[in-house]
């Protein structure tokens, strides 16, 4: 068995880092679109019409039971066919990153809608009533009074969901997207299978930095935003 | 029977017990009174090694040990001779009333189930809860839970029972049922050390009263001594604030 070469771990990092932007693009794109979709879903779940609530419940349940890789394959193989039939557009040539972001947006929106909904329900609605009673429009009351407080409550869980997303996003390589892990696999095959452990450990190190970084950032955000809130 | 000397306990820089001595003979009911922060609960918990004293000596029948350096087996032996009744009852939530009382016997003392159940039922009868043996603590009122706690303590037939403010967490109308159980135990000659705020009860039941403040014993004596002829100023101040004014009715 080939001896372990720690030096390689350091050497390989400059080759990997350029592809960090692919991973980050996936994460940021997913967070953006996933939060939008999650917001819509949360609204639907809070609505008065039971039909919308059931739809959202069903969606969340199905997403919760689906492995990322299965959904990835379904979107990758199924979406082009679907678009061809229904919209008469050929998306087969689209960059793989498109399919990755679509898949993870669907996956991310489910837990995020729950995070948003429970944060909204945890805030004190008396304050909303007070706001509209002094003349704010419902939107102003929501935006200036409810949203800031709900955000603070939601932050820890939102951060956790982002970290989970980062880890699940690593699967993008299975449909051929060359992100961090994709590049790592390419390097390994360029070395005819040698230095696999060293490459993977370097990748792990980068991911650890990413996840710990995100965790710390969210903690700082929480502290900054909740300074206004005095804990009794 | 039990003699504890020179107990010191510090929490960081705060000295909570500044050299306390306490002697208990068989059949004694020792009541410890005092304002909050006087160290009375800490003293009680140090006796049972729930809190770790910094200094102190214990002579308990044939056992002679240092409070700060007792070994795990010595601690366990002391705990097998004592029983503790907590302010918050601390009943085992996942066990029925009967299982709560037999736990110390079956698990802690390796007793046979039939014998343990017999002892447990006798203890539960004594506290008046024979009809609740299969209930879970979450189904009982506070007073009932505390009585189970007392039954749990009686069942192991300890040499001394330690009570840490047994009625402080109870609603006022439930205090009486617990106090009457303790009173009955006192009348039967059970050795007890009780930390409490119930003055009238203390006067009724105690053979010996200790008044503590700021980590020291200020005064001790018989109930008559302490309640009717307190010697120290501090004791008088405390009693004046706690006891309702004595109003005499003369019809």
């Amino acid at each position: 068995m080939r001896p372990f070469n720690p030096q390689f771990m350091l050497d390989v990092i400059p080759n990997l880092l350029p592809f960090l932007w692919v991973t980050l693009t996936v994460v940021l794109g997913t967070v953006f679109f996933g939060s939008l979709l999650g917001f819509v879903l949360a609204q639907a779940k809070l609505s008065q019409k039971p039909r919308y609530r059931w739809l959202v419940d069903g969606y969340i349940y199905i997403i919760r039971c689906t492995p990322s890789i299965v959904l990835l394959f379904i979107v990758f193989y199924g979406l082009p066919k679907f678009c061809l039939e229904v919209f008469d557009t050929d998306i087969n040539r689209y960059d793989k990153i498109f399919f990755v972001i679509v898949t993870f947006t669907l996956l991310f929106s489910a837990p995020i809608s729950e995070v948003m909904r429970s944060a909204y329900e945890a805030t004190d609605h008396g304050q909303y009533e007070a706001a509209v009673s002094i003349g704010l429009t419902p939107w102003q009351a929501f935006y200036h009074i409810v949203l800031p407080q709900a955000t603070v409550v939601a932050l820890p869980n939102f951060g956790n969901s982002v970290i989970e997303l980062m880890k699940e996003g690593a699967l993008a390589y299975t449909i051929g997207l060359i992100d961090l892990i994709g590049k790592g696999q390419l390097i390994i095959s360029q070395n005819y299978g040698a230095y696999a452990l060293e490459t993977y450990l370097s990748l792990s190190f980068i991911y650890l930095l990413l996840t710990l970084g995100v965790e710390k950032s969210f903690l700082c955000l929480e502290h900054a935003l909740s300074r206004q809130k005095k804990v009794v | 029977m039990l003699k504890i000397t020179n107990v010191h306990k510090k929490y960081n820089d705060n000295e909570v017990l500044k050299g306390v001595d306490i002697t208990v003979d068989k059949g004694d009911v020792v009541v410890i009174l005092g304002p909050s922060g006087s160290g009375k609960t800490t003293l009680l918990r140090c006796i049972n090694f729930l809190d770790h004293a910094n200094q102190g000596e214990m002579e308990f029948d044939e056992y002679h040990l240092q409070l700060n350096s007792a070994s795990t087996s010595e601690v366990r032996k002391i705990r097998q001779k004592t029983a503790f009744v907590f302010q918050n009852y601390n009943l085992f939530q996942n066990k029925t009333v009967l299982e709560n009382v037999t736990a110390g016997l079956i698990i802690g003392r390796n007793m046979e189930k039939k014998q343990a159940v017999d002892l447990a039922l006798k203890a539960l009868a004594k506290v008046g809860l024979s009809d609740r043996v299969d209930f879970y603590p979450s189904q009982l009122s506070g007073g009932q839970q505390q009585r189970v706690g007392i039954a749990r303590a009686i069942a192991v037939e300890p040499d001394v029972i330690l009570f840490d403010e047994p009625t402080s967490a109870l609603d006022p109308e439930l205090i009486g049922e617990v106090l009457s159980v303790i009173k009955q135990l006192a009348q039967e000659g059970t050795t007890m050390i009780i930390v409490t705020h119930e003055m009238k009860f203390a006067a009724d039941v105690a053979t010996h009263v200790i008044f503590m403040a700021d980590g020291n014993i200020v005064e001790e004596g018989t109930p008559k001594d302490i309640f009717q002829h307190p010697k120290e100023e501090r004791t008088r101040n405390f009693l004046r604030r706690i006891l309702p004014p004595q109003v005499e009715y003369n019809i």
Binding site: I69, A170, L171, L197, S204 | A103, G108, Y136
Partner: protein
């Protein structure tokens, strides 16, 4: 959309035959992880030991890296490592003949233990300290107190999280195909590659996972009610 219904139905039954493999990996990983995780969680709560930073490092690594990567690491080094070890001790075993499901057991056990340890740590922390004190005062040793009083209560508190973790684990086993294990996803992939019927195959396995996860959730609901029967509504 032209869907090959015959293939759809045939592959669905094929996927169902692989369900035991998926459940097998899940169950074995859980069985190994539960006692280990409890033990680690308790060890972490005791003061002053050198082993605590080690355990924390292990848990941080598992929680901070994708399981995809953990699988790649274990699968790339473990077989050759075991092979070298066998050669060193001159044992007559052909490591490469072993059923690859063993590697699945190892990876998912290691992963689940770390995650479960966190769950147990918070569950144990939520148990009132007075329960331990009362148990010790009743004459039990620490070990007896944990076994009879603390751990049963912690288990009930942890149940919803254990259920979530199990569902995540089942979804995680979908990656076992990377280690040439014939689980549900592997079977679907293989069937799809014959005739390029990807959509049908993955729709089948998609439904398969929904069924498996639903059954597991129902079982957990039942377990939670049974184990937690002492948590009745307080009646005064």
């Amino acid at each position: 959309m032209d869907i090959n219904y015959q293939f759809l139905i045939k592959t669905f039954y094929l996927v169902l035959t692989a369900v035991p493999t998926t459940l097998n990996i899940t169950a074995v990983s859980l069985l190994i992880a539960m006692p280990l995780a409890f033990y680690l969680a308790v060890v972490r709560m005791r003061p002053g030991k050198y082993i605590r930073p080690l355990i924390s490092a292990y848990i941080t690594f598992v929680r901070g890296t994708p399981i995809f990567l953990q699988i790649l690491i274990i699968y790339s080094i473990l077989p050759s490592f075991l092979n070298s070890t066998a050669k060193y001790f001159a044992l007559e075993v052909n490591v490469f003949d072993w059923n690859p499901i063993i590697y699945a057991y190892i990876v998912f056990s290691l992963n689940t233990t770390a995650l479960l340890c966190e769950v147990f740590r918070s569950a144990l922390g939520s148990i009132n300290k007075g329960q331990l004190e009362a148990a010790l005062c009743a004459g039990m040793t620490t070990a007896q107190a944990y076994r009879h009083i603390i751990i049963p209560q912690a288990l009930v508190v942890a149940m919803p999280n254990i259920c979530n973790l199990t569902v995540k684990l089942i979804k995680g086993t979908s990656l076992a195909f990377l280690m040439t294990v014939k689980d549900m996803t592997a079977v679907a992939k293989i069937a799809a590659s014959y005739g390029y019927n990807y959509i049908e195959a993955y729709m089948d396995v998609f439904v398969g996972y929904i069924i498996v996860c639903s059954v597991v959730q129902v079982l957990f609901d039942f377990a939670e009610k049974h184990v937690g029967k002492f948590r009745l509504i307080k009646q005064k």
